[in-house]
């Protein structure tokens, strides 16, 4: 039997809440984080809605419990806030023995400061401290230093599937015995760099996004950070602490189709989901909920929808995209939606796909429209697909009894 991988801690900060409890409350109250831009300095402010974390940079420092210091990006601060929550939730500090890793994901890295100071970088020495913090590793190392994690450290960037791949790598390393537990997830901050970039690709909706709707019109970007603590069976047994759920399947596949578009038949999405189910040993009928990538673009939702139909046939389980709540948090989306899916198992509910009204012509299934309560949710699948066709799926399973 391969080593089982348990989830023992969760941490999250997005536009719908600064921690897990606030996130849950927003999900239950169908409260979206998407609205007018408040914090990002851009002249698209009145034109394009996003889901920002509702904190200024200074408030982020405060939440991260770090004195306001030069050299910190918003990205690193959001990462520290969420990773610390997960770390404390899993009480890692109380059990110092096991080897602990940090695998973090980001795509814009410290771009939020870099794009403000780039002209200074070119012409003067006033912002030099930010020059080395614009890469992707900076936030990872700052998180590691706050948490005191040293045993393994790396950063993944596969665009919008990045943090799902971070979770996957963490699980593989635990299974192989390289580390005993890992803080895995991702952080992404809204920047003009990618807001303007997505805008140039003409895939941003100027209204609240409507995934899987016939009249969907694109993405609402979001920001945030989310981390899970994954732990080996032995490590959990030693500490005797309760487990939240189990990670039972993961799979990564590549569309190999186009740099930013998904293939019409969703081959990458299909292969990622298929690999994940096969690995978990479950049957498709066991999946109680799919948290779709569901960005709300014309292209993704057809591609993903067809892949789901191909894999699940006539019996598609309840599907929803929760991006109408959080926006598309890009590199953080995999971990954000992993946590939102895990909450379905903990609360025995299924979150609705907000803003949906008209079924897509191409698909036989429609997403969940209203909050479903008191429903048995034992296995959830969550999809994360990225630019470059980097597609990853994860399955989490409920743990009813685990004897220590």
């Amino acid at each position: 039997m391969p080593r089982r991988i348990f989830v023992t801690g969760l941490g999250i900060i997005t536009g719908i809440g600064n921690n897990l409890a606030a996130t849950k409350d927003s999900l239950f109250h169908l409260r979206t984080g998407i609205g007018k831009i408040q914090f990002l300095q851009t002249n698209l402010r009145d034109e394009i809605p996003v889901s920002e974390v509702k904190c200024s940079l200074e408030e982020c420092f405060h939440l991260a419990a770090i004195p306001v210091t030069e050299g910190y990006s918003r990205n690193a601060l959001l990462g520290i806030i969420a990773a610390k929550q997960a770390y404390e939730d899993a009480r890692i500090g109380d059990f110092p023995g096991p080897r602990t890793g940090l695998i973090s994901a980001t795509t814009v890295g410290g771009m939020d400061r870099c794009e403000l100071y780039y002209q200074d970088f070119l012409t003067n020495d006033s912002r030099n401290v930010y020059i080395d913090s614009y890469d992707c590793a900076d936030s990872t190392e700052k998180i590691a230093d706050v948490l005191g994690i040293k045993d393994y450290l790396t950063t993944i960037s596969t665009a919008c599937s990045s943090s799902a791949n971070a979770i996957q790598l963490g699980a593989r390393m635990i299974r192989n015995g390289d580390i005993d537990r890992v803080v895995a997830g991702g952080t992404e901050t809204l920047t003009k760099f990618h807001l303007n970039g997505f805008n140039a690709l003409k895939i941003l909706d100027k209204e609240p996004c409507k995934p899987f709707d016939e009249k969907r019109n694109g993405i609402n970007l979001g920001e945030g950070a989310a981390y899970l603590v994954l732990e080996s069976e032995e490590s959990v047994k030693q500490s005797g602490k309760p487990v939240i759920c189990e990670l039972t399947g993961w799979g990564n596949s590549c569309e190999a189709f186009h740099q930013t578009a998904s293939s019409p038949d969703g081959i990458g999405a299909y292969l990622a989901m298929k690999k994940t189910i096969d690995m978990s040993g479950l049957k498709v009928a066991n999946i109680d909920y799919i948290n779709a990538h569901g960005t709300g673009t014309d292209n993704n939702d057809i591609s993903e929808g067809r892949a789901i139909e191909k894999l699940f046939g006539a019996k598609v389980p309840p599907v929803s995209s929760t991006k109408p709540y959080t926006g598309h948090t890009t590199s953080a989306a995999g971990a954000t939606e992993a946590i939102i899916s895990i909450l379905c198992m903990l609360e025995q509910v299924i979150w609705p796909n907000l803003n949906f009204s008209e079924p897509m012509k191409e698909l036989h299934f429609t997403p969940v429209r209203e909050l479903i309560k008191n429903i048995k949710v034992s296995h959830v699948m969550t999809n994360s697909f990225g630019f470059g066709g980097n597609d990853t799926s994860l399955i989490f399973s409920r743990v009813l009894s685990f004897k220590c």
Binding site: L122, A159, F193, N196, N252, N390
Partner: protein, 353 residues
């Protein structure tokens, strides 16, 4: 956990592409940074219609990946994994250069190509490869993380042939910016005089190296990677020594089994003393070599070192230009690559015959 190196494609500031030679002619520079020697034409590697829109780094990446696959005979790898510290700097700069003007519409091409996973996914698109695909972006751990993922896949049995590489580029703008942080010398320097510099700052470089890592040996096999380890912020030299010893012990090797140590000396007198101290205390009787005078310093420079190690083992020859001491040992069975970046990110790659 090990993998055979069954093919290599490398583009570097030395003559390493479209040649069978192994450092026959050493490129001597007096410059601000070392630039890759690219193939005369990309036509044999990339459809000209596609390559017209590609930035330089992507072309370099695809070309080195295809060179590697051609050499190995593998047409469809079971995984593609890339490490890059900064991805396409050129594309990122195209956007950053005008971002303060807050133009709502950018040219989408540099944005699409600026994402770090572009190299891995463009290689997949070229090959129509639907298999595992990932990108590591952690400074000088980037390439090492790719190797670790590859080795893990082979151990898991989920992949037999893996294309793993490291790639980074330098641009004049990025050089000027990072000079402000004191990373580089402030004037052009002679690359082959690195050991005489004795001043702060290194010489920047760039390069791309892809390796076909396989579960099985073939008649193309250069060498095999036994293990790859990274250490983050070690407390002292003792901690580094302990990690090296346990890594060697896991492969049932001792210090005396290492026939050559390849050190990432970069000509910065704030950085290099640690290498010398390391070598003096752990490997006082071992042949030592260095390589960054040939390729420059960059986040994934250890891919150049791995190319060197694989060729040294296969050809059983250590080029004089890389020797750091007068010790010689034959045969060369085990090579240890050690890289460290300002005492924060340390990494070891153990390569054997």
């Amino acid at each position: 956990m090990s993998a055979f190196i069954n093919g290599i494609g490398i583009i570097s500031p030395q003559k390493t592409v479209e040649t069978e030679d192994f450092l026959m002619e050493i490129m001597e520079y007096e410059s601000d940074y070392l630039k890759c020697i690219e193939p005369a034409s990309y036509k044999p590697y990339i459809d000209p219609i596609q390559s017209r829109r590609m930035s330089r780094l992507i072309k370099i990446g695809i070309t080195s990946a295809k060179t590697c696959l051609n050499e190995s005979g593998c047409t469809m790898p079971d995984a593609i994994i890339t490490g890059t510290g900064l991805g396409s700097v050129e594309d990122t700069e195209k956007i950053l250069g005008t971002i303060h003007l807050d133009q709502p519409f950018l040219n989408p091409t540099p944005f699409m190509q600026s994402t770090y996973n572009t190299i891995s996914s463009q290689i997949a698109i070229q090959l129509k490869c639907h298999n595992y695909n990932s990108t590591y972006v952690h400074r000088t751990f980037s390439f090492e993380s790719s190797l670790q993922d590859a080795l893990l896949q082979i151990k898991e049995g989920t992949a037999k042939d893996i294309l793993a590489g490291g790639i980074d580029e330098m641009t004049l703008n990025h050089l000027a910016i990072t000079r402000r942080r004191g990373h580089w010398k402030n004037k052009p320097v002679k690359n082959l005089e690195m050991l005489k510099w004795n001043s702060p700052g290194s010489l920047a470089g760039e390069g791309s190296g892809f390796f076909l890592l396989s579960a099985d040996k073939t008649n193309k096999t250069y060498a095999f990677i036994r293990d790859v380890k990274t250490i983050y912020k070690p407390a002292n030299l003792d901690e580094i020594a302990q990690r090296v010893n346990s890594m060697l012990a896991a492969s049932e090797l001792g210090i005396s089994d290492i026939d050559l140590v390849l050190l990432g000396i970069n000509g910065d007198n704030r950085n290099d003393p640690l290498y010398h101290e390391f070598a003096r205390s752990l490997f006082p009787d071992t042949p030592l070599a260095y390589y960054k005078h040939l390729c420059g310093e960059y986040h994934t420079a250890s891919c150049f070192a791995l190319w060197l190690a694989a060729n040294i083992i296969q050809r059983q020859t250590v080029p004089d230009v890389i020797r750091l001491n007068d010790l010689h040992r034959e045969p060369v069975r085990n090579v240890l690559i050690y890289n460290q970046y300002y005492n924060v990110n340390h990494s070891f790659i153990l390569v054997s015959k």
